[in-house]
Amino acid sequence: MSAVTTPARQATGGVNIKTINRIVIYGLLALFALFYLMPLFVMLVTSFKTMDEIQNGNMLALPKAPTFDPWLKAWGETCVGLTCAGIKGYFWNSIKMVVPAVLISTMLGALNGYVLTKWRFRGATLVFGLMLFACFIPFQSVLLPMATILGSVGRFGVTLQNSIGTNFGLGNSTVNLVFVHVVYGIGFTTLFFRNYYEAFPTELVKAAQVDGASFFQIFRRIMLPNSMPIFVVTVIYQFTNIWNDFLFASAYAGTGDAMPMTVALNNVVNTSTGVVEYNVNMAAAMIAALPTLLVYVLAGRYFVRGLMAGAVKG
């Protein structure tokens, strides 16, 4: 009899320990999640409060009379430095800089990955190793050399302007930032695409060659349509990085019309005149954070596996 009952008792004991383990694990996870969500929560509720309520109330309390005014003020009226026209102009500055930078660096990364895996040449591994090295160069060490290069490019732009009447955007701060981010991003995007294409069946490329497709036709018709997962990963990574960049932005476009969102936000918060408008600052910070959130929510849906299913084997 005992031989039969003992395992049964062990089994119920096992279930209890399992349940306790689950509770501990989920409890801890919930605690961490709460810890991370707290600042977001404070930002969000503060941005809907009036200044009176902020000065007299509890930081964690929900707004008693929710108001959109801080958001509207942040968007259209708040002072960035000496101009008081809100952050909307800088928001568009960032968009104008981020979208081309992300697309160009991602496409170049895809092309590099394609060449490094499917059109191997002598020294391909070395080239890839050197590009990988670019991922480990700290931002700060690039600042001065890059400033020198951008300065030269800018002078060349002025020369062009004087001689043929157009500078092709050379010397423009937005173009400069796009250039810097593309150069800095290529290492990462190449790494992503190269590793993805390494596992991409080479027989598909061979089949397309037999079918008569050219180098770029194979890239456009075979490689890219089957790269959705890594494309999305790269876009999210690049978008987040470039949008949130402050160092390059403040170094190469820290003043003037092309100033991106991150620098503008810093100038809003660091203003030294009058009362610190926490609600407006919080609203501005929320607006600055929204695009990266939006990109993740929209593109995250395409983080799906199995897009390659059916290409090879049974």
Binding site: L204, Q209, V210, G212, G310, A311
Partner: protein, 371 residues
């Protein structure tokens, strides 16, 4: 002049020579199978014909035209890959017509060609599906459809059946054979499966280490292997290769086979190959296929040279269609193939007939055939 001619083809990767001077030719409408163990260079050879690999020296001609340096798409070939290599982002119809699209064939004409091929391969109902929605056999058909639609001079198949399960593989093998018979196309086919090679080919090239060991019809390869490797590689179950010596029996030569704990067997040779007399008293390898070692009643009646010997049966394997009996000669397990209903028991001593007309002999030093 043959349709496909390969002359002195060499391929080198750095210091390693992958293909060491290949000479092959194939008549129009022929079916050439390249067979060999993995790493023998058969797939590389196929890729050089396709133009997916460059060659170091030599020449490849199709229909009298040298194609060495042409781009794959200009060679008028079509290829079926081991993994099928269907484009996962396109429908079946898109996959089949991609090549025509690249060549700028008008849409109406493409549709006509798709319909024609779909009818031949019975994949009409699959045309709008994606490859991921197809079974293994259906993918195989689509891959063949993509090749067929081009109507090329030469078809290349790279182990097309190796990803299918056993039953489907036999079905598709028959289908490929039927396709070859009805369309009369010229095919080069790579496989490591010697049964596929035997059943499909009009010509077989057995390869090892970048060299063609033997090139001939399936019957030549099977019955007249030029060396030990070919004899061992082709045929299932494999040929019995028994260490033996040559003795004299009056005027005639005889094969002496050692047995465990008993006196050796002497098999008198009525019409020994001429080269064998030089090996008197020397060791040789005696090769006999399982079907040439059978029960005396089942032995071929019109064979001129049959010798019977009593053998100790160690294992009996009834395989349904045949019964295989394993005995020990010259220190090696030897398989005999008997009728399915042969009355044979393991552990007994049973007379078995050697069909010596079908026997072959090899020099153990050079591994070459003694003729």
């Amino acid at each position: 002049m043959a349709f496909l001619e390969i002359d002195g083809l060499r391929k080198r990767f750095g210091q390693v020579e992958i293909l060491k001077g290949i000479d092959l030719d194939l008549e129009k409408g022929g079916f050439l199978v390249l067979v060999g163990p993995s790493g023998c260079g058969k797939s590389t050879l196929l890729n050089t014909i396709a133009g997916l690999e460059t060659i170091t020296s030599g020449e490849i001609r199709v229909d009298g035209r040298t194609i060495n340096d042409l781009h794959p798409s200009k060679r008028d070939i079509a290829m079926v890959f081991q993994s099928y290599a269907l484009y996962p982002n396109m429908t079946v119809a898109g996959n089949i017509s991609f090549g025509m699209e690249m060549r700028g064939v008008p849409a109406a004409e493409r549709q006509k060609a798709i319909d024609k091929v779909a009818k031949v391969l019975q994949i009409g109902h699959l045309l709008q599906r994606k490859p991921s929605q197809l079974s293994g056999g259906q993918r195989q058909r689509v891959a063949m459809g993509r090749a067929l639609v081009r109507d090329p001079k030469l078809f290349l198949f790279d182990e097309p059946l190796s990803n299918l399960d056993a039953k489907l593989r036999v079905d598709m093998r028959i289908e490929i054979k039927r396709l070859h018979a009805t369309t009369g196309t010229t095919i080069v086919y790579v496989t490591h499966d010697q049964i596929e090679a035997m059943t499909l080919a009009t010509k077989i090239a057995v390869m090892r280490d970048g060299e063609v060991q033997q090139f001939g019809t399936p019957a030549e390869i099977y019955n007249n292997p030029t060396n030990l490797f070919v004899a061992d590689f082709m045929g299932s179950p494999a040929m019995n290769l028994i260490p033996a010596t040559i003795g004299t029996n009056g005027n005639a030569l005889s094969v002496v086979l050692q047995r465990e704990a008993r006196e050796p067997i002497l098999l008198p040779m009525a019409n020994a190959p001429a080269g064998l007399s030089a090996f008197q008293g020397k060791p040789i390898i005696f090769g006999v296929r399982p079907e040439a070692l059978t029960d005396p009643e089942g032995a071929e009646r019109n064979a001129s040279n049959i010798a019977t010997a009593d053998l100790h049966i160690e294992v009996v394997e009834p395989a349904g269609s045949d019964t295989f009996a394993v005995t020990n000669l010259g220190g090696k397990g030897v398989v005999a193939r008997l009728r399915a209903d042969a009355n044979i028991q393991p552990g007994t001593v049973t007379p078995l007939a050697f069909n010596l007309t079908k026997a072959v002999f090899f020099d153990p030093a050079t591994e070459n055939r003694i003729r």
